[in-house]
Symmetry: C2
Subunit: 435 residues, 2 copies
């Protein structure tokens, strides 16, 4: 059986998961592939750390460059994360004629254009299934399984930490900061949680999915991002009353002319599948013009699930190698150069809105608010106004029909300047019919 030698850079959680899979399922993977994957070298700065897998010490090195320079190694796994030195390692590997598998969503979201161009230039392949949705084969499904489709929309629950926090807040009526603290104690949230709870991690992943789904260049800067830290138990309670659940959704939609990409807390109808995705799970709801709605669900993080995705890319590249393909599979990298559409500015986005005003309990307040909304072409679908709450203010809660983000922002600026409004108005975007 032919052997293919690989090198692993980064022996942390995901790296250990990959090693464990390659060890435990070695014969199964060998049979399925029709060849043997041999882990030739592992590079990590920390050679001493206790890990839950055992590898021969003589394949360990603290110098990633010797691994990249090793002529025996034909595929390099980059699993250190972060921008540098990961970026330099990957570019160097391409220069040495090696294929690369990475789980690095931040790097691809910020430097994808450079990385993909280098991969094409050197006729090398880059696998990045592990960069989105952990073990869920969503990259492969978009690229191959749904290749016949114009993708109409993507709705993703892509960040397990945020989803865990929102799930807990909804089930237990607790405040964001309390649940975050508990999540940090349990290891479900980082000490600095901002990448997760501010939506940045989900936006990285959306940028990658969008490049495959809509043929737009990976450009993280163009993705609108808003996190979950300002969501209150009061808003969750109202959303339930209206028949919705609040999720941090990564949304991508494409029409003939433009593509919109945004990550923000979103009210999703309670009877929709996506609203039932709880805890640390991820799901991506993709609608194509031929296939209709589809959904892909699984664990979005963790060493073994993410390792499962890394090894699937590895096997894919090995298959190409074993087939002695004359040409590498270049067309499997994103194709934005050939089918690019402009990105929609967030102010152009049209969607229904949930608005919560904090107003003095005086006659005429509702009329003032609805007058300003009406003047901006924002029509109200329903209103909830309940009895007094302390300090003389009451929450006035509205669901609007579809309105333009720009109009809503202008109206809220005007409304929040009114004497009778006592706090910044809360806005949550709504997916009325997630199709």
């Amino acid at each position: 059986m032919r052997e293919i030698k690989i090198g692993l850079i980064g022996f942390g959680t995901v790296g250990s998961g990959v090693v464990r899979i390659l060890q435990e399922n070695s014969s199964l993977i060998g049979q399925r592939l029709g060849g043997q994957i041999v882990l030739n070298k592992i590079a990590d700065l920390d050679l001493a750390r206790e890990r839950d897998v055992v590898v021969p010490t003589d394949i360990m090195t603290s110098d990633a460059t010797t691994l990249i320079d090793d002529p025996d190694i034909s595929i390099v796994l980059e699993l250190i994360g972060g921008i540098e030195p990961a970026r330099t390692f990957i570019l160097k590997a391409f220069e040495r004629g090696k294929h690369v598998v990475t789980a690095n969503k931040a790097l691809l979201a910020l430097h994808g254009a450079e990385i993909f161009a280098a991969s094409q230039r050197h006729g090398a392949r880059i696998g990045f299934e592990a960069s989105v949705g952990g073990g869920i084969p969503i990259i492969r499904s978009l690229r191959e399984g749904l290749v016949a489709n114009k993708i109409i929309s993507i709705f993703g629950v892509l960040n397990g930490t945020s989803n865990y926090i929102l799930t807990k807040m909804t089930a237990e009526g607790r405040r964001f900061r309390d649940v975050l603290k508990e999540a940090q104690q349990r290891g479900y949230a980082e000490a600095d949680p901002s990448l997760d709870v501010e939506g940045i991690d989900a936006a990285h992943k959306l940028a990658i999915l969008a490049s495959l789904a809509f043929g737009v260049p990976v450009d993280f800067e163009k993705v609108f991002v808003e996190g979950i830290s300002r969501i209150t138990p009061l808003d969750i309670q109202y959303s339930l009353e209206f028949g919705y659940r609040i999720k941090l959704l990564a949304i991508g939609k494409g029409d003939e002319e433009k593509v919109e990409l945004r990550v923000h807390p979103t009210m999703v109808p309670s009877n929709h599948l996506l609203s039932t995705i709880d805890g640390i799970f991820n799901a991506i709801y993709v609608t194509g013009d031929a296939v209709g709605p589809t959904m892909f669900y699984g664990q979005g993080a963790g060493g073994l699930p993410t390792g499962s995705a890394v090894v699937s890319d590895l096997v894919d590249i090995c298959r190409d190698t074993l087939k002695d393909a004359k040409k590498p599979t270049l067309s499997l990298t994103p194709l934005w150069s050939r089918e690019g559409r402009a990105l929609k500015d967030m102010e152009e986005v049209v969607t229904p809105y949930y608005l919560r005003f904090t107003a003095l309990d005086r006659p005429g307040v509702l009329s003032k608010i609805s007058g300003i909304l009406g003047g901006r072409n924002i029509s109200i679908a329903s209103v909830i106004q309940k009895g007094r709450r302390g300090k003389g203010t009451v929450p006035i809660v509205m669901m609007t029909h579809e309105a333009k983000e720009k109009d809503v922002r202008q109206a809220l600026r005007e409304i929040d300047r009114l004497d009778v409004i006592k706090a910044k108005t809360t806005l949550i975007r709504v997916e009325g019919a997630v199709t």
Copy 2:
């Protein structure tokens, strides 16, 4: 741009879906593939029928053999369904050195061993993504996306007609035969519905999935099959009381020694994702040793969703062709010869059971029943016995702990012979913890 010429046999619902996708998304698919797919010939016995796509009449023929013999055509789509002449067409296409894409689950379930062996012998590829789950890329996901995993279990809602009927029965408390009649009127069920409602179609699909997931030969005869026609509103009502929904599940489980494959009405916990898959949708819940639980969801039938899967296989084979691979991708066909395990006999299966006895309302009945169950090592988890129902009989409903199918069958034979038992006892298998 290089052209790849293909031929289509069978211009019905799925065939028309494929043609429409190839017409409408032609340039998109061409860009993604890096080559142009040209539909060179269409064979169908009915050349006159009105179809919702228009094709040049000079590519139509009523003689499939001329299509298969056409040296320009390198890929044949078999979309006529049924066993013959589909089987002969596919084998002939292989002999002529052509690759084949098919949506024919019955053929693969019954003659898969022959078809796959012929494909290997001739170095030809066979794509069958469309044979299971319509447009859901489940074949690809099992074969490639989850290639790193030992598959532990598969739970599939694989038959839209049965799922539609059970969903309606549950929502509206109606009887099987009434909902079936309505489904037939609406075109959701065939005039002869037995393939669907008796579980045979789902078993065909399970046989195919199992060959990829567990490495067992496709062998439909070995799959235990039980349909939904004997499910009553009473059982649905009790299942809801116990916190379950009844689904027609296709179940595959593998341990170190054996694989069990069965299709039957199954009680699924109401809080499990699978219990929320309603109407004509399909879902496959797959658990792998590395990836953990995953789920794949979408429309399981229809011309465009199924066409989406056919075209994805077509593009896949075209990519190989355009890469000038020296060796075809043989290892992508199922590998049962290399990792076969024995199939478990249904009598060996261990699972919890729901049992509904129709008993005379007399003292000592419960004691007799539970005595017989206890004697067969079947322990009772809970019992519901309500007041009198007409004719002096009462339903006695039990959930058991895990028990062996063989023991349960023997106990029920004994119980159903008791004087106090007035109807055949209803048995529904339960997935206590679908993981």
